[in-house]
């Protein structure tokens, strides 16, 4: 198992949006997808996923629908809405800007 890091506050929403931008998925699928796309480096508290999904749906960023899953069970599938896509783009830019700034700052050396 690779070393795992705690999620930074606020990043769970961004990860969910990113995961769902790759295609619609049910809750457990989102969890697996996050694990895969982060290479298992980020630890997501499983239960915390659902309040986050509900929050994003409440904000109109996700659309949820009951459908049949690959093993023929009823599951709730989430998909990004147009607003969700826009938000993901905006958040990604913001994140990159902040990460870049932080990286630069942390590498800074006394002149």
């Amino acid at each position: 198992m690779p070393p795992q890091a705690e999620l930074l506050p606020g990043t769970l929403d961004l990860l969910i949006l990113k995961a769902l931008s790759l295609g619609e998925e049910h809750g457990y699928g989102v969890l697996l997808r996050i694990e895969r796309i982060t290479g298992g480096a980020l630890l997501v508290e499983q239960g915390a996923l659902y309040p986050a999904l509900a929050r994003l749906e409440h904000q109109g960023l996700l659309h949820a629908e009951w459908a049949t899953s690959d093993n023929n069970r009823r599951a709730r599938f989430y998909a990004l809405t147009a607003a969700g896509r826009k938000r993901l783009k905006a958040e990604t830019e913001r994140w990159e800007l902040a990460a870049h700034a932080l990286n630069t700052a942390l590498r800074a050396q006394e002149a």
């Binding site: 499983q46 659902y50 749906e57 409440h58 109109g60 599951a75 709730r76």
Partner: protein, 900 residues
């Protein structure tokens, strides 16, 4: 993006159980999939499920977070708050009832009064009411205007001469329209109904166009109808159309009989417009040109008589000042012209004064009489405002007591981890629940009581239907709710800020004392207002008693009275008519005798004349009645000397009169001047000498409050009579035979309108309608105030006793007697009561002056009444505090010391 959130919130809030179900399913699916994956990695199914659960964490916790994500937590909390509040209300029924009743009375009564106020002062329902103007003028005794037929008093006249109107209409450049009108009561027979007196208005051609009011059906009146040869047409009100004509859609073109003349209905007015006179809705509007044909007494008179009311609409950009400046000179010209055309009998012919024209804003209609209604409403308003204030204070007091009783509870909840905002929100919910219940009850009360002005029979009051004013309701409900919130939540907020620990150890004595003080100040205010209301009620009760003790000088029981108006054109026909009328009524079984007079005995009008005794110098004004011969027998006014009138006193016989004892003394200076002569004086002319043939005992004339006045009675055959009041002496209950009397009148003449049919007792009661209504209102208000004060007193005393349980226990343990404890508890509240009563005395003095004009035989500051009010207040205060004090004195010291 608020919309998706609201939609999501509503979707989930409305389909709550489906959402809960879905949520459980979703989490179950997650756990099963996770377990399946773990089984794939080699765990046993049991271990896999257990691990999946462990990894997931608390299902319930995340469910709750999910609900919160959807904004549903507030809803859940609100629900539990409401449930808790409801439980609190049910547990404390007395408190809740008192608070809700207080709120209901405060909001309901005040909304009703506000709405009635608004009915008086609201703008006419016409287009651009702010452009309307109404003309009047101020006059003095010296003004050169003597003959008028209309509203003309308090140095303000709203009546103008015909030429004045013509001049205004011709010369104005600032008014786009000018119109004149004159009210009248006409006898109308519609659809074969009984003849009925209908409030009507004669209007000039521009009346409807100027007001900008259209017809619902047919047409309104226009200048075409003003031409002398135009057919007689009228416009009826929506109300009359519904009431008398059953809303007949084909009414336009039908004919009604007005004062025996056929008039064609050409239109029905819009439902919300019933004339320019807000306190007197008009059912029939006719052209001014028809006034003479229909027998209006002032119609067709020349320049000398002032009888028309005038209004106008300002042209765009024009002002009232410009209008006045432009029309002043033509007004003065009219005054001089009318003075030159004055009758030969005009009193005080040396006048030179010029009345002053005024142009007032006319958006609310022309009526000067509204001033009287406003005074009435001001008094009503003051009384109800006092009740509202008492109510709010009472509510505040109740809430304060309750809040301090709950400090303990609040502390426990804070200690158990409830957030401060959560506790405050809980208390807020309770206050709002009370405010809402009270507001709802108050609205019902307001709707029920909105027509309270109708209870004031015989008082100058707007008789239009009041509409509940939404703003007034909002205002009073808001005021009461704010009280509920401020005093319900305020102390709690303060309590939550304090460290809960000391409050749990013992009910923080300092805070208690401070809270007790606020309560006592509030109590003082209540007592003061109650004393004021009690004084008012007492003064009015004494007024009513004094009225009931007035000796009227005739027998007012078993007497039926009504008015009939007859043609003025044909006196010989009228004599005959009266004879047939009285004959027909006297044949009705149960009628002892019937008579008539020109003025109702103790009623709304009077007539007077100036007399000069033969050989005397001094002229004197006396009240005047023109009566049928059997008047004294029917009214049972005893004859003290000479003879009464009889059938031989005909129109061609010698002129005779009967006078009362007061007139005998005041005019002739002797008790029995039978056989002496006098003349009546009108201006510079004197009548032929009239012989006094009899003296009768004094009797009341117009008002009960006046001393029995000097009165002159002459036979109706020897004086001009137009319209009479018929008095019928019955064997039994007068109203029982009223229908038979009505039938008898109809058989004599079906077009004779019979008006204001009532018993003499009712008529007398109406003349004191104002004090009666005020007495009822203030008595009710005082009772409510007293009851509320009583609740407040009880609450404060009980709270005080509870707060000091431990102290009292110690005192008893140390040997204090019961009476000492009672005194201890009573003393504190009594200080507040005494202070309140002292302020109440001052308030009562000021408040009773407001009703001074209504009082009879009792002074506004009557010491006995005020003393009685104080005594009642103190007695009630004693009673209210006695129960908690006695309970405190019976405390078992061992229990008391263990308290808390």
């Amino acid at each position: 993006m608020p919309f998706p959130r609201i939609a999501s919130f509503l979707r989930h809030a409305l389909h709550r159980s489906a959402m809960e179900h879905d949520m459980a399913d979703e989490l179950q699916f997650h756990l099963e999939r996770r377990a399946a994956d773990l089984v794939a990695r080699g765990l046993s199914p049991d271990a896999a499920l257990r691990t999946a659960r462990l990894e997931f964490g608390s299902v319930e916790k995340y469910k709750e977070e999910t609900r919160q994500s959807r904004g549903l937590r507030h809803l859940d909390e609100l629900q539990s708050d409401l449930r808790y509040a409801w439980r609190g209300v049910r547990k404390n029924k007395g408190f809740a009832l008192a608070a809700i009743a207080t709120l209901a009375l405060g909001t309901g009564a005040n909304t009703a009064v506000f709405s009635a106020f608004d009915a008086v002062i609201r703008d006419l329902p016409v287009s651009r009411p702010e452009q309307l103007v109404v003309f009047d003028f101020q006059r003095t005794r010296d003004s050169m205007v003597s003959a008028y037929y209309g509203y003309c008093r308090q140095s303000m006249c709203t009546a103008f001469s015909t030429p004045t109107f013509a001049r205004f209409r011709e010369q104005t450049q600032t008014l786009s329209q000018v119109w004149a009108f004159v009210p009248s009561s006409l006898s109308v027979v519609a659809n074969g109904s009984d003849a009925e007196a209908v409030d009507s208005l004669f209007v000039s051609g521009d009346y409807f166009a100027g007001l900008g009011v259209g017809a619902l059906l047919g047409r309104t009146l226009s200048p075409i109808d003003e031409s002398p040869d135009a057919p007689l047409v009228g416009v009826i009100s929506y109300r009359y159309w519904q009431r008398r004509l059953g809303g007949d859609p084909l009414v336009v073109g039908k004919t009604v009989s007005v004062n025996r003349v056929p008039v064609v209905v050409v239109g029905v007015m819009a439902a919300d417009f019933d004339g320019v006179r807000q306190n007197r809705p008009v059912d029939l509007t006719l052209s001014l040109a028809a006034a003479q044909t229909l027998g209006h007494p002032a119609a067709g008179s020349g320049a000398g008589l002032w009888w028309l009311q005038i209004m106008g609409r300002l042209a765009p950009g024009a002002t009232r000042e410009q209008t006045l400046a432009q029309l002043e000179s033509s007004f003065q010209e009219s005054v001089r012209e009318s003075w030159a055309a004055r009758g030969p009998r005009t009193p005080n012919p040396g006048r030179t004064g010029m009345p002053r024209l005024r142009v007032r804003a006319g958006g609310r209609g022309p009526d000067g009489e509204l001033l009287d209604a406003q005074l009435t409403l001001t008094i009503v308003f003051a009384v109800v405002a006092a009740v509202l204030l008492i109510g709010c204070v009472n509510l505040a007091n109740l809430l304060l007591v309750r809040a301090s009783a709950r400090r303990h509870e609040v502390s426990i909840r804070l200690t158990l981890g409830a957030s401060r905002s959560r506790v405050v929100r809980q208390l807020l919910t309770e206050s709002l629940l009370l405010a809402f219940a009270g507001g709802a009850a108050g609205t019902i009360l307001a709707v029920w009581g909105k027509d309270f002005t109708k209870w004031f029979s015989g008082v100058e009051m707007p008789i239009t239907d009041a509409r509940i004013d939404a703003r007034a309701l909002a205002f009073t409900v808001a005021l009461s709710s704010i009280t509920a919130i401020v005093f319900g939540v305020g102390p709690a907020v303060r309590a939550t800020r304090a460290d809960p620990a000391p409050s749990l150890r013992f009910a923080s004595p300092r805070a208690g004392i401070r809270r007790g003080l606020t309560g006592k100040v509030l109590l003082g205010v209540q007592v003061a207002l109650s004393v004021m209301l009690l004084t008012g009620a007492g003064l009015l009760a004494r007024t009513l008693y004094n009225f009931s003790q007035v000796a009227v000088g005739f027998d007012p029981d078993n007497l039926l009275v009504f008015r009939v108006s007859t043609d003025k054109q044909n006196p010989s026909r009228t004599f005959d008519l009266y004879d047939r009328l009285i004959g027909a009524i006297e044949r009705v079984p149960g009628v002892r005798s019937a008579t008539h007079s020109t003025v109702p005995v103790v009623g709304a009008s009077y007539d007077d004349t100036i007399v000069l005794p033969a050989g005397g110098e001094r002229q004197q004004d006396v009240f005047y009645q023109i009566v049928r011969w059997n008047f004294f027998d029917t009214l049972r006014i005893p004859l003290v000397a000479g003879r009464g009138l009889n059938a031989n006193d005909g129109s061609d016989g010698p002129k005779v009169a009967v006078i009362n004892e007061k007139m005998a003394r005041e005019v002739f200076g002797e008790p029995r001047p039978v056989g002496r002569y006098f003349q009546t004086v009108e201006g510079s002319t004197r009548s032929t000498p009239i012989e006094v043939v009899g003296i009768v005992r004094d009797s009341a004339y117009q008002r009960l409050s006046d001393p029995l006045p000097p009165t002159l009675f002459v036979p109706h055959t020897q004086a001009p009579v137009r319209g009479v009041v018929v008095e019928v002496r019955t064997a039994g209950e007068p109203l029982a035979i009223a229908p038979a009397v009505r039938d008898a009148v109809r058989r004599v003449d079906p077009e004779l309108p019979l008006m204001a049919l009532k018993t003499e007792r009712q008529q007398i009661a109406e003349t004191i309608g104002r004090p009666r209504a005020f007495a009822a209102l203030t008595a009710a208000a005082a009772a409510v105030g007293l009851l509320l004060a009583c609740i407040g007193l009880y609450g404060i005393a009980a709270y005080d006793a509870t707060r000091r349980t431990m102290e009292i226990g110690i005192r008893i343990a140390l040997g204090a007697r019961r009476s000492d404890v009672v005194r201890l508890v009573v003393r504190e509240t009594m200080i507040a009561v005494a202070a309140g009563a002292a302020i109440g005395l001052a308030l009562a003095g000021a408040g009773s002056r407001l009703i001074a004009s209504v009082l009879f035989n009792v002074q506004p500051g009557d010491p006995a009444t005020i003393a009685a009010a104080l005594a009642v207040m103190l007695a009630v205060a004693m009673l209210a505090t006695a129960a908690p004090a006695r309970r405190a004195s019976r405390l078992d010291p061992t229990v008391a010391l263990r308290y808390e």
